[in-house]
Amino acid sequence: MDDTRDAELEMRMVAVPSPAVPSRISPARSRRLHAMDRRFRWLTGGLAFLVLLLLVGVALSLFLRGWEAFHHFGFAFFWSDAWDPVTENFGALVPIYGTLVSSLTALLIAVPISFGIALFISELAPEWLRQPIGSAIELLAGIPSIIFGMWGLFVFAPVLGSAEPWLNDHLGALPGIGALFRGPPMGIGMLTAGIILAIMVIPFISAIMRDVFLVVPAMLKESAYGLGATTWEVARHVVLPYTRTAVVGGVFLGLGRALGETMAVTFVIGNAHDLHISLLDAGNSIAAALANEFAEAFSPMYKSALMALGFILFIITFVVLVLAKLMLWRLGQGQGKVGL
């Protein structure tokens, strides 16, 4: 079908005697066609501009709706750990802390694993295995986040819960970081959220790392091999330094995902507005607080405090994503486009 239509187009093109074309179009028709051109250009340009308007609109509307809370609590909103809908005393510290800690836990787990996966796909795996493994890992990125949440709550949390007494006894006994691992072995809490977030961002980070590893010029790698370097030494001392900025950019992009992830976290973080050092304790994240409480928040101040949380989340992710894009863009400059 495609081919016949293309052929038709070709025939039509051939059939037009070329010198006759200019004279066939009357000035009026030519003006009309040009007006159409202008209108089309304005239409598409306006819609492209809509993207910028949307971002500004999101930031502005959240800020205005959250203004009541920002104004009422002042800067104390950021470091108050209060969250009491009855007395209408709200502070953002617990959700901000939970968002940052669960996301950083996720990165601590996800970055080395993603690096390993990217290294395996780009340097080690035989040609025929690269595509299937890459696709399988990307499949993980396509699973709806609510399924991660259900799996986390019903399947993974009990498993982790049974391992947590061990964490208490061993890691909890360590000085310093031990405090992170002492807590109730419920299987629900920031550690669970962090692990599930890690599984969710691994496909993103590893895909970007793989893409940037593949742009390293073969000549650089071969020179190192020629000097007798091992595969690991090439990866560590040639590939990684060459792609460092973009790798960090990819990690930031993963961080952006983790910070805003809602459903998976809502299921497993515990939704407790208390500040705990321990990763095993229940906590809360901005996104989880919004998902749980927004539809049921009836007083204006409660709604406004939640909107203010949304605004804070938007600003944090915006900054992280801008940094990520800038870092990825720097490698992309001379090296052709880098995926995502």
Binding site: A48, V51, P144, I147, L253, T266, A291, K325
Partner: protein
């Protein structure tokens, strides 16, 4: 001297094998989660699958029912979101690729489009709550569809831009040299050449929004009953899954797993089809 050199060589070889072994292990580790999660969804979901799922509506606690109203609501909202988001995304992408190619403005819009693409979906839900739900005075299916459209838009825009960018300039020049106006050249030459790529982008975008829960929580809300009225709260698969999974009733949890299985299947089939389309295009 010789043994020292030998030890160094052995150490390097050891670290090489060890680290590469770790790389292989991490890959298996990643695949392990994929298999575990898919297996869980399949085994929990399959036991809850039956015809009632598609014929009955969401039940009261303790009675049996299905998810018909949720499926219909989701399809309606996704349909409306596609009808709104696709033309906007395609036209905006057209501007970047055909009119503003290489300009500073295009670079800025591309940059912020990528930010919008990765922005937390729950924040988009809040935005729609503030600008649609509050003025309308009620949660509604339309608000849900609009928030999905905003999530769909940047994906379509980006793929349209990229796919049009791959259309050879000579094809455009041929059309322009024949006296075709610019818009006609775009519609009849560029779009036709990039058609399957743009379609892939739309499919990927639909795959993305069909599992989205967070933005629907306070835009479409949910509805216990069958409804096709987009002015009012409407049932949809993700929010029903969320409510039922968090509930203490086993019947509801079973339904949640069945819904999760079907949502996951839909997303996976969509991404497989779009992958297939990409493959199909590349040799041509």
């Amino acid at each position: 001297m010789n043994t020292a050199k030998n030890a160094r060589y052995l150490r390097r070889r050891f670290w090489n094998v060890f680290n590469l072994g770790m790389a292989m292990a991490t890959t298996l580790f990643g695949l392990f989660w994929l298999v575990w999660i898919l297996w869980t969804t399949l085994s929990y979901g399959a036991t809850a699958l039956n015809m009632e799922l598609f014929t009955g509506d969401t039940p009261a606690p303790g009675s049996i029912g299905g998810l018909r109203n949720a499926f219909v609501g989701s399809l309606l909202m996704i349909g409306v979101a596609v009808m709104i988001g696709t033309p906007v995304g395609i036209l905006a992408g057209t501007y970047l690729a055909e009119f503003a190619q290489g300009s500073r403005l295009a670079a800025v819009i591309r940059f912020f489009n990528d930010i919008l693409l990765s922005a937390p979906s729950i924040v988009i839900g809040l935005f729609i709550y503030a600008v649609v739900v509050v003025p309308m005075g009620s949660f509604s299916g339309l608000a849900g569809a609009l928030s999905l459209a905003i999530l769909l838009l940047p994906v379509v825009l980006r793929t349209t831009d990229e796919m049009l960018g791959m259309v050879p300039g000579t094809m455009r020049e041929a059309a322009l040299a024949l006296g075709a106006p610019h818009w006609k050249m775009i519609v009849q030459v560029s779009y036709r050449a990039a058609r399957s790529g743009i379609l892939t982008g739309v499919l990927l975008a639909v795959a993305r929004i069909s599992g989205e829960t967070a933005p629907l929580l306070f835009t479409a809300l949910s509805n216990q009953f069958f409804s096709t009225n987009l002015d009012k709260p409407i049932a949809n698969v993700p929010v029903v899954i969320f409510q039922f999974a968090m509930s203490p009733y086993p019947e509801w949890q079973h339904l949640a797993w069945a819904g999760a299985l079907i949502a996951a299947m839909a997303v996976l089939v969509l991404s497989l089809v779009s992958r297939f389309l990409i493959k199909d295009r590349s040799p041509r």
